[in-house]
C-alpha cells in the first residue's frame, strides 16, 4: 500500500507522529497519477510543480512551528473544475471557458487554503455539471477505475475516480441532482451532499443556483466529516448560505445507532431496478437493524414527479446562469462572425456541448412568456410538495435509506444517445436536491462483476451529523470501503 492509498485521518496521524511529510504524500499521489492517469483521465489540470512546492513550504512551516497541523494540513486534495481557484485554470470542462483563470478563490477553496492543504489539480466533469457520466466534457471522458470500459458517474466523475484511484487523498465535488452521490456510488467513495445553504456557493460556477451544493468526496466517513468541517458554514458572500453554527462533524462519529428509526421510501424501489443493487440495499438495512436500528416502509408520494420538475427548474436556471458566456469579456470567442448577434450565436454554438445546449433550450422555453406558468411555476409547486414529503417523513424517521442509483456504473456510450435514459439514472438523487435536504452515498457492496454499489442515507435539513453517524456505524461494521480497484 502506497501513501496515496491511505485516508486523510490516517495520514494526519502519521504526520502528527512525524513519520511522513506532506511532500512524501504529494510525491506518492503524483507518482500514482503518472501510473494511472493516462487510463483514467480524472484530471483536466494537474498542478504538479505547484503541489510539490506547496507541500515543501508546508513542511518547512510545520517544522518551524509557523502553522498548526490541522487535520487537513499538507493533504493533497483535488477540486472539481467547476469551482473557482485563483490563478488556476477553471474550465467547467467547457470549450467556452477553456482559458478562464479566475482572479478569486471560491469560499471553499479559501477555507481549505486556511488549513494549508495541497491542491493537486482540477478534476474532470460533465460540462457545467450537466450529466451523469463525465462523458460530456470538452476534455475527454473519465473512466471508471473499477472497469475502464465504464463511466465513473457524474458529474463529479473526475473527483470520485481520482480519490478511489489514489490520485488524490480527498476531493471536492458539487451536487445539483446527484453529482456527488452517483459517482461516489459508481466508484466506491463516500460522498456527501450538504443541506442547501450549509456550504457557501461563492465561487462555484452556477449550473442551477437553487440546487447546487459543494460537498466532499472521500475514502471513508471520517474523511468526509473532516472535509465537511473545513468547508461548511455561513458565508457573508453567499446570501443563500445559512447563518447557523457549524458543529464539529467528527464528533458525530460514534458507532452507536441504538433506537435509530429508518424510513425506507417505497417509491425508490422501482421496476427495472438492478436486482443486485436492490439486494445490497436490503443487506445494508439488515446490518443497521442488527446494530439496533428499526426500519419501516414510508411513502414519499410525489417522488414520481421529481425528475420532471428537476428538468424544468434546473435548465431554467441554467439558461440564465450560462447566458453570461457570450464571448464578450472572457473565455472563448468564435474566430469569424459578421455582427454582434452572429458573434453570440457562433461563439455559443461552438463553445457548448450538445447536452448543455439542450438544457439551455429547455430552460429558455420553460421560462418563455406564455409557458412560464405551465412549466416553471408548476414545477416549483411540485418542488414544494416534494419538500413536504420529506418533512413529513422526517417527523417520524431519523434517516431515510435508499439506493443512490438504479444501476451500477454503465458502459461508456451506453446512454449518450438517449438523454432521457441518462436523466433517469438520477431518479433517486434528484428529489434530495429539490427538497434541499442532505444525503450521502456510502459503499455497501459490489456486483458479481465487481462493480461498486452505493447506499444513500438521507437526512433532514441540517441533519448532516445524523447521516454521518449512521454511515460511520455502518462503515465500522463493513469492509466495502476498504476495497481498492485493480489498477
Amino acid at each position: 500500500m502506497e501513501l496515496c492509498d491511505y485516508t486523510i485521518h490516517e495520514l494526519h496521524e502519521m504526520m502528527k507522529r512525524r513519520e511522513i511529510t506532506s511532500r512524501q504524500i504529494t510525491e506518492s499521489v503524483l507518482s500514482r497519477i503518472d501510473q494511472v492517469e493516462s487510463r483514467i483521465r480524472a484530471y483536466i489540470t494537474v498542478l504538479r510543480e505547484e503541489a510539490l512546492e506547496q507541500a515543501g513550504t508546508i513542511d518547512q512551516k510545520l517544522q518551524k512551528g509557523e502553522i498548526p497541523l490541522t487535520p487537513l494540513t499538507g493533504i493533497p486534495i483535488a477540486v472539481k473544475d467547476l469551482i473557482c481557484t485563483r490563478g488556476v485554470l477553471t474550465t467547467c470542462a467547457a470549450k467556452i471557458l477553456h482559458n478562464f483563470i479566475p482572479p478569486y478563490d471560491a469560499t471553499v477553496i479559501a477555507r481549505l487554503k486556511q488549513q494549508n492543504i495541497v491542491m493537486v489539480g482540477k478534476t474532470n466533469l460533465d460540462q457545467f455539471g450537466m450529466g451523469s457520466s463525465t462523458e460530456n466534457s470538452y476534455y475527454g471522458i473519465t473512466r471508471n477505475p473499477w472497469d475502464l470500459s465504464r463511466v465513473p458517474g457524474g458529474s463529479s466523475g473526475g473527483s470520485a475516480a481520482a480519490v478511489i484511484a489514489g490520485e488524490a487523498i480527498g476531493a471536492l465535488g458539487t451536487d445539483t441532482g446527484g453529482s456527488i452521490r452517483q459517482p461516489s456510488s459508481f466508484c466506491s467513495t463516500t460522498g456527501l451532499k450538504p443541506t442547501y445553504g450549509r456550504v457557501s456557493r461563492y465561487g462555484l460556477i452556477a449550473y442551477a443556483s437553487s440546487l447546487d451544493q459543494i460537498g466532499p468526496i472521500a475514502k471513508d466517513v471520517t474523511d468526509c466529516a473532516i472535509l465537511l468541517n473545513a468547508i461548511a458554514g455561513y458565508d457573508p458572500k453567499d446570501s443563500t448560505s445559512v447563518n447557523l453554527p457549524t458543529p464539529d462533524y467528527t464528533r458525530a462519529l460514534v458507532p452507536d445507532i441504538t433506537g435509530l428509526k429508518i424510513g425506507i421510501p417505497e417509491e425508490y424501489f422501482i421496476a427495472g431496478m438492478d436486482g443486485e443493487v436492490e439486494e445490497k440495499i436490503w443487506e445494508a438495512v439488515r446490518v443497521l437493524e442488527k446494530l439496533g436500528a428499526s426500519s419501516e416502509k414510508v411513502s414519499l408520494p410525489h417522488t414520481e414527479y421529481a425528475v420532471a420538475a428537476y428538468y424544468i427548474i434546473a435548465p431554467a436556471e441554467a439558461s440564465s446562469n450560462l447566458a453570461r458566456y457570450d464571448g464578450v469579456k472572457y473565455g472563448y470567442r468564435a474566430d469569424k462572425y459578421t455582427d454582434l448577434i452572429d458573434m453570440y450565436m457562433t461563439t455559443r454554438s461552438q463553445g457548448f456541448t450538445p447536452e448543455v445546449k439542450r438544457r439551455i433550450m429547455l430552460g429558455t422555453y420553460s421560462l418563455s412568456s406564455g409557458y412560464y406558468d405551465a412549466y416553471y411555476l408548476k414545477a416549483q409547486k411540485v418542488r414544494t410538495l416534494i419538500k413536504r414529503d420529506f418533512e413529513e417523513a422526517f417527523k417520524k424517521y431519523d434517516v431515510l435509506i435508499a439506493p443512490v442509483s438504479p444501476t451500477p456504473a454503465f458502459k461508456i456510450g451506453e446512454k449518450t444517445e438517449d438523454p432521457l435514459q441518462m436523466y433517469l439514472s438520477d431518479i433517486f438523487t434528484i428529489p434530495i436536491n429539490l427538497a434541499g435536504v442532505t444525503a450521502l452515498s456510502i459503499p455497501c457492496g459490489f456486483t458479481r462483476d465487481g462493480l461498486p454499489i452505493g447506499l444513500q442515507i438521507i437526512g433532514k435539513h441540517f441533519g448532516e451529523e445524523t447521516i454521518l453517524k449512521v454511515a460511520y456505524a455502518f462503515e465500522q461494521n463493513t469492509e466495502h470501503h476498504k476495497k481498492k480497484p485493480p489498477l
Partner: protein, 506 residues
C-alpha cells in the same frame, strides 16, 4: 387602477410642432403614465462593495461581482433598501413585508451577466401617490409601484474614442449602480401635468437626499406611456411608449409632440400603432424604434441567488420617523413662519435646495418677503438662463445676496445699482461690498452734492422746466433720469425726488 377620479382636461385647439394648425373635429385629452428610473446615491453599488463615485476612469469601479464573472454572487446593499423605503414612504406607498428579486434576461455586451437583477412580482412598494398642482388645482397622481434594480454598463461606440468603427468599448463602472424604478398610474391628462409630476418627484427625491436627480447625467431617467382619447371618454386609446427624453423640458416637448401626432392620426381616421418611440431632440420628433429592438421576452423568474427580502415593521417605522420635512410641510411652515404668500412658499419649496438657499439668506437678512422676491425673481431667472443650473453651485451664495440686500437697506447702494452688483456677483463671485468699493458704486446721499447736480440740470433745461410747470407731469421723470445719468446712477433716488420736487415748485 385610478386612485383619483377627477381629471383636468386640456383641449388642443391646434397642433403644435411640426404640424400646421388645423381645426379639430373634437377635443382630446391625453392619458399619460411615467416610468422613472433614479440612481440612488449610496456609497457602494447595489450588489457589491464597489464605489458609486461618478466620473472615475473607465472600469475603475468594478470587481468580479459587478463584472458578472463566473461563480460570483450578489449581496444586497442594505442602504439601497433603506433609500427605497424612504422614497416609498414619502410617496405614500405600502411597503411589502416580503418582496422578491427577479432576473430580467437579455443579451447585451454591457450587461455582463446577460441578466439584470430587478424586481418583478412582489416589488418593494406599491399603491402610493404624489400630489401635484396645475393651474392652482391640486391633483393626486397614483404611484403603482417602486422597485429596486441594478444598472447596466455603458457601451461606447464613438469612433473618436475607440479608434475604429469595428470596435466598441464597454465601461462597467455604471454596472451595478443602484436604481429605483418608480412607475405611475396613467393619471396624467396633459404633458404639462407630466412635467409637474416629474418635478414634484424630483423634489421629493432631493428632499430625501437619496438621489442627485440629474437628468443630463442620467441619474434621473424617464419613459412615458401616452395615449389620447376624446375628452370625456373613459375608454383608453392605444398607447405608445416614448423613450430618450433627457431633460424636463424634453419630457414636455416630446409628449406634446406625441400627443399631437396621435390626435392627427385619429382626426384623419387612422389607427394608432402600439409601439416604442425614441424622442429625437435635434429634430423635435418621436421616431418608432425598429421592432427588432423591442421584441424582447425577458423571461423573468425569481433570482435564486438572493433570498426573499423580508422587511421588519419596526425598521419601516424607524425610517418613517427619520423622514425629513418634505415640500408640502415646508410650504406650510414658510407661510406661518415667514408670513410670505402661499404662491411664494410653493415656488421656494419645490426644490429642497432653493428652500435651503432661501432660509439661509433669511437667517442673514431677516426680511422674508424681500428675500423671497429676489430669490424667486433674479436668482431663479438667472439659473434658468443657464439651462436650469443648480442653485447649490450658484456663484451668488446666501452670503452674497444678504450682503447686497443690507447695502440697499443701509442706503449704500440704490435698487438700480443693486442690479449691476447682482450681475457682477454672478459673473465674478466677488462679495457685494468688494464690488461696490472697486467700482465706486456707493450711493451719493450727500444733499449738497446731489443738489448741485439738480441745479445744474434744471438750469440746462429751461424749456422742460416750463413744460413741467405748465402741468406736464411726465417731465418730472425726465429730470430724474438726467440726474441719475449725470451721477452714473449713484444718486440716492429718494433724495433726487425730494430735491427736484422742492426746486421745481419754486
Amino acid at each position: 387602477m385610478l386612485l383619483h377620479a377627477h381629471t383636468a382636461t386640456h383641449p388642443y385647439p391646434t397642433l403644435p410642432y411640426p404640424h400646421t394648425s388645423i381645426l379639430l373635429k373634437m377635443e382630446y385629452e391625453a392619458v399619460i403614465g411615467l416610468e422613472v428610473h433614479t440612481q440612488l446615491k449610496t456609497r457602494s453599488k447595489i450588489f457589491c462593495s464597489c464605489s458609486t463615485e461618478f466620473g472615475a476612469k473607465p472600469n475603475h469601479n468594478t470587481c468580479p461581482i459587478c463584472q458578472g464573472m463566473p461563480g460570483v454572487l450578489p449581496i444586497l446593499n442594505k442602504q439601497v433598501v433603506e433609500f427605497g423605503i424612504r422614497t416609498a414612504l414619502a410617496m405614500n406607498c405600502t411597503i411589502a413585508d416580503y418582496s422578491l428579486f427577479a432576473r430580467k434576461n437579455y443579451f447585451y455586451p454591457d450587461l455582463p451577466k446577460a441578466y439584470q437583477i430587478s424586481q418583478y412580482e412582489l416589488p418593494l412598494a406599491q399603491h402610493g401617490w404624489i400630489e401635484i398642482q396645475v393651474d392652482g388645482i391640486s391633483k393626486k397622481i397614483g404611484v403603482t409601484r417602486i422597485h429596486m434594480e441594478e444598472d447596466a454598463g455603458k457601451s461606447i461606440h464613438d469612433e473618436n474614442i475607440t479608434g475604429s468603427k469595428n470596435y466598441s468599448f464597454i465601461d462597467f463602472n455604471r454596472c451595478g449602480m443602484p436604481l429605483l424604478e418608480i412607475v405611475s398610474e396613467p393619471d396624467m391628462r396633459s404633458p404639462e401635468e407630466a412635467r409637474e409630476y416629474l418635478l414634484k418627484l424630483k423634489g421629493i427625491l432631493e428632499y430625501l437626499e437619496v438621489s442627485d436627480c440629474n437628468m443630463e447625467e442620467g441619474s434621473l431617467r424617464c419613459d412615458a406611456n401616452i395615449s389620447v382619447r376624446p375628452k370625456g371618454s373613459t375608454k383608453l386609446g392605444t398607447k405608445t411608449e416614448v423613450k430618450n427624453m433627457n431633460s424636463f423640458k424634453n419630457v414636455q416637448r416630446a409628449l406634446e409632440y406625441e400627443m399631437a401626432r396621435q390626435i392627427q392620426i385619429l382626426e384623419e381616421g387612422g389607427r394608432i400603432v402600439q409601439e416604442t418611440c425614441l424622442w429625437d431632440v435635434d429634430q423635435g420628433v418621436t421616431r418608432p424604434m425598429r421592432s427588432k429592438e423591442e421584441a424582447h421576452d425577458y423571461r423573468y423568474f425569481p433570482e435564486p441567488d438572493l433570498v426573499p427580502l423580508v422587511i421588519d415593521k419596526e425598521w419601516i417605522e424607524q425610517i418613517r420617523k427619520s423622514l425629513p420635512e418634505l415640500a408640502d410641510a415646508r410650504t406650510a411652515r414658510f407661510i406661518s413662519q415667514y408670513g410670505i404668500p402661499e404662491y411664494d412658499a410653493r415656488v421656494l419649496t419645490a426644490s429642497k435646495f432653493i428652500a435651503d438657499y432661501y432660509e439661509n439668506t433669511v437667517k442673514l437678512y431677516p426680511n422674508p418677503k424681500v428675500v423671497s422676491n429676489w430669490v424667486m425673481g433674479d436668482i431663479l431667472r438667472k439659473l434658468k438662463e443657464h439651462e436650469e443650473a443648480d442653485i447649490r453651485t450658484c456663484p451668488i451664495t446666501p452670503q452674497h445676496l444678504a450682503g447686497m440686500l443690507k447695502l440697499i437697506e443701509e442706503g449704500t447702494i440704490s435698487g438700480k445699482i443693486a442690479k449691476v452688483v447682482f450681475e457682477d456677483m454672478y459673473a465674478t463671485g466677488k462679495m457685494p461690498e468688494e464690488i461696490v468699493k472697486e467700482k465706486g458704486l456707493i450711493q451719493i446721499s450727500d444733499e449738497k452734492e446731489v443738489a448741485a447736480v439738480v441745479d445744474r440740470i434744471i438750469a440746462a433745461n429751461p424749456e422742460t422746466v416750463a413744460q413741467y410747470k405748465a402741468g406736464k407731469q411726465k417731465a418730472f421723470g425726465f429730470f430724474v433720469g438726467e440726474v441719475m445719468k449725470a451721477t452714473q446712477g449713484k444718486a440716492n433716488p429718494q433724495l433726487v425726488n425730494k430735491l427736484l420736487k422742492e426746486k421745481l415748485s419754486t
